[in-house]
């Protein structure tokens, strides 16, 4: 009975990877091994999928408006240059080697080093998602605990209904609504890009203000999109803890409500909540594709769409490696938190 909230929360969050028996170190080693396999699978998929299916990066270079083809010699020369003429096995081995040494090569469609492109975009997406997850986490934590504390009341039912509705609206629709509101009805915020084009800043504060103004709408859209699942998770876990004996003890001791609420009831929800946050952060780099697209924000999402569109193999490969690495780092952090907060894990809890 007492395990129910954890079990539900764990299912909600997608339990951390690789629960295995053995001590804490053994557990983490197993997790790490699994992550390595995951990365390998993803890296291989990204290599073979685009090559197995129609279209190639060289044809994508041709302007579709103008049309045209390469001469056979030009094509052969380009293929040789990008080493696309080699046998697929040889390409694959070379590719794995380059991924291991983090040598991402040269983007075919954009004619610049892939690492430069990724480095220019990654911070913006991390900024977007970092802020959105922090806001969504803080809001859902406070509101969810309060709602659980007053479960069954009018305000609780209203909140549950509101968050259920919010969860039903896809984030690109939320973003579009915000776009309409702040582009047409009350045009007070910038609706595109990450800073004003051609702006000449007189001070660093002005620049910072401009960047923040451009962040408000995308971060709001992402935050609203992320709120629903977290609110319900916190609420349900806290409700699960309210009937526990330690809650009765806390009340019997006459502890202040605030302490009962956040220290005792709330803490029970912490584990599944942190897991969900961690898992969502793992998907952060690919998670803002829609919102970036609506607000033409120069992040990883729009770069992924470009790379898919132009079939830019080197760029795609690097992007997916970054995606996989983020998942890995986040999941590993979740596992560390898990083993740290919940001693049962290292003792080999069945998953």
């Amino acid at each position: 009975m007492a395990r129910q909230p954890e079990a539900a929360g764990e299912r909600a969050a997608g339990a951390p990877l690789g629960r295995s028996s053995g001590g804490r170190v053994g557990h983490l080693t197993g997790v790490a091994a699994l992550h390595v396999v995951t990365i390998f699978v993803l890296v291989s998929l990204v290599f073979f999928l685009p090559r197995a299916l129609p279209g190639d990066p060289l044809n994508a270079l041709l302007d579709p408006e103008v049309g045209g083809t390469f001469t056979a010699e030009a094509r052969a020369e380009l293929e040789a240059h990008y080493q696309l003429d080699r046998p697929i096995g040889e390409q694959y081995v070379g590719y794995l080697g380059r991924m291991l040494t983090l040598d991402f090569g040269w983007s075919i469609s954009r004619q610049s080093p892939v690492s430069t492109l990724v480095a220019a975009r990654l911070p913006w997406t991390l900024l977007l998602m970092g802020l959105a997850l922090s806001f969504a986490g803080a809001i859902s934590w406070i509101v969810g605990t309060t709602s659980a504390w007053r479960r069954g009341s009018k305000s609780d039912r209203g909140l549950v209904a509101a968050f259920t509705l919010a969860r039903s609206v896809p984030d690109f629709a939320i973003a579009t609504v915000l776009l309409v509101v702040f582009a047409v009805l009350v045009p007070v915020l910038p609706v595109a890009g990450n800073r004003t084009v051609f702006a000449q800043y007189t001070s660093i504060w002005q620049e910072l203000g401009d960047v923040i103004a451009h962040l408000i709408l995308p971060v709001s859209a992402l935050t609203i999109g992320l709120l629903g699942s977290k609110f319900l998770l916190v609420r349900n876990s806290v409700i699960g803890s309210l009937g526990q004996e330690y809650m009765m003890l806390a009340r019997a001791k006459g502890l202040p409500t605030r302490i009962q609420k956040y220290r005792h009831a709330g803490r029970n929800a912490l584990l599944p909540f942190l897991t969900l946050l961690g898992v969502q952060f793992g998907f952060a780099v690919g998670g803002s594709i829609f919102v970036e697209e609506v607000f033409t924000y120069p992040g990883m999402g729009t770069l992924i769409l470009d790379a898919v569109d132009t079939r830019d193999y080197p760029l795609l490969e690097a992007l997916f490696l970054v995606l996989a690495a983020t998942v890995l780092v986040a999941n590993f952090a979740v596992d560390l938190i898990y083993t740290w907060l919940d001693p049962g894990v290292s003792a080999g809890t069945p998953s």
Partner: protein, 302 residues
């Protein structure tokens, strides 16, 4: 202190209070959800009656405001928007059905086999599930969707292949809990075969969970299909709510007139309402399957 006395008494009486309070709401949510989904099913079926136009027919002049002839106005090239919204329901329902079933078939098979057989096979399947669960799903969906060719069937296929792990985990944990029960152990002890046990004891018990899982997968598939269409990566031969949004936002002069009010709003409302309907149906089934189960068993980031 007095402020807390009310919730405090409630807490002492029952840990179940949260779900018990939901008894009335559970019936409501299922009914309301089914009504909403039913509305969209009838709209999709009755499309030829509801509207005289075809999806991409140049029915009127571009961006005509709503009128008797065009109840929701026309879009940038003169297609009737009501027609597109009604036919968009077909795409959404189709993807819900195909991808929902596909996800369920893969997930339930893995979950059943894993939970029933146990042992090394279980370990292998669950590790495989972990790996798929750790893949960046949305980017992978975009990559596979684009390169396989953006037809609705392919989209459903890719969604099924990438999004099955949550279903597999739920089914597995249910099977595990059933497998240990006395009646099933007795039945196996008396010589019941695998197939018989699954058919007679396991599937009926996980039935409601399977339906709840199906609904959740269907809802996610609808969201993903609309998302792909919104990114311009949808089936070019079909109307979809996401695509209507895309067309609208691509229209340069959208915000110079009031066009956005009849062009952007209907697909957003339709999409959100349909997803809300599915969510409510899912909640209804989930609570029937297990009143103590939380109502969001599948949400796992993107």
């Amino acid at each position: 202190m007095t402020a807390t006395s009310a919730p405090a008494t409630a807490t002492v009486t029952a840990p179940r209070a949260g779900s018990a309070g939901g008894t009335r709401r559970r019936l409501d949510s299922l009914t309301i959800g089914l009504a909403i989904v039913g509305l969209f099913v009838s709209a999709a079926l009755l499309a030829p009656v509801l509207t005289p136009y075809r999806a991409f027919e140049l029915a009127g002049r571009p961006i005509e405001p709503p009128s008797v002839e065009f109840p929701l106005g026309t879009n940038g090239v003169g297609n009737d928007i009501l027609t597109q919204v009604v036919l968009g329901a077909r795409s959404s329902l189709l993807i819900a059905l195909l991808a929902g079933l596909g996800t369920l078939v893969v997930g339930a098979t893995v979950g059943l086999v894993s939970g029933w057989r146990g042992g090394a096979l279980d370990v292998v399947l669950m590790r495989f599930t972990d790996i798929v669960l750790a893949l960046p799903r949305l980017p992978l969906l975009i990559l596979m969707g684009v390169y396989l060719g953006p037809t609705l069937v392919n989209t459903a296929l890719v969604i099924s292949l990438v999004f099955w792990p949550p279903s597999a985990r739920i089914v597995r944990s249910q099977v595990l809990s059933i497998r240990g029960r006395a009646h099933l152990r007795a039945s196996v002890g008396f010589g019941a075969g695998t197939w018989f046990s699954l058919k007679r004891h396991v599937v009926p018990e996980v039935g409601l969970i399977l339906i709840a899982s199906l609904i959740a997968s269907a809802g996610r598939a609808v969201m993903l299909e609309a998302g792909l269409a919104f990114l311009g990566l949808g089936d070019p031969s079909r109307v979809s709510w996401g695509r209507i949004l895309r067309d609208a936002l691509d229209f340069q002069a959208l915000f110079f007139t009031d066009a956005w009010s009849w062009w952007l709003v209907p697909p957003i409302v339709a999409l959100s309402l349909f997803l809300l309907g599915l969510t409510l149906v899912g909640i209804g089934f989930e609570q029937r399957a297990n009143p103590r189960l939380s109502r969001h068993s599948e949400e796992t980031g993107r």
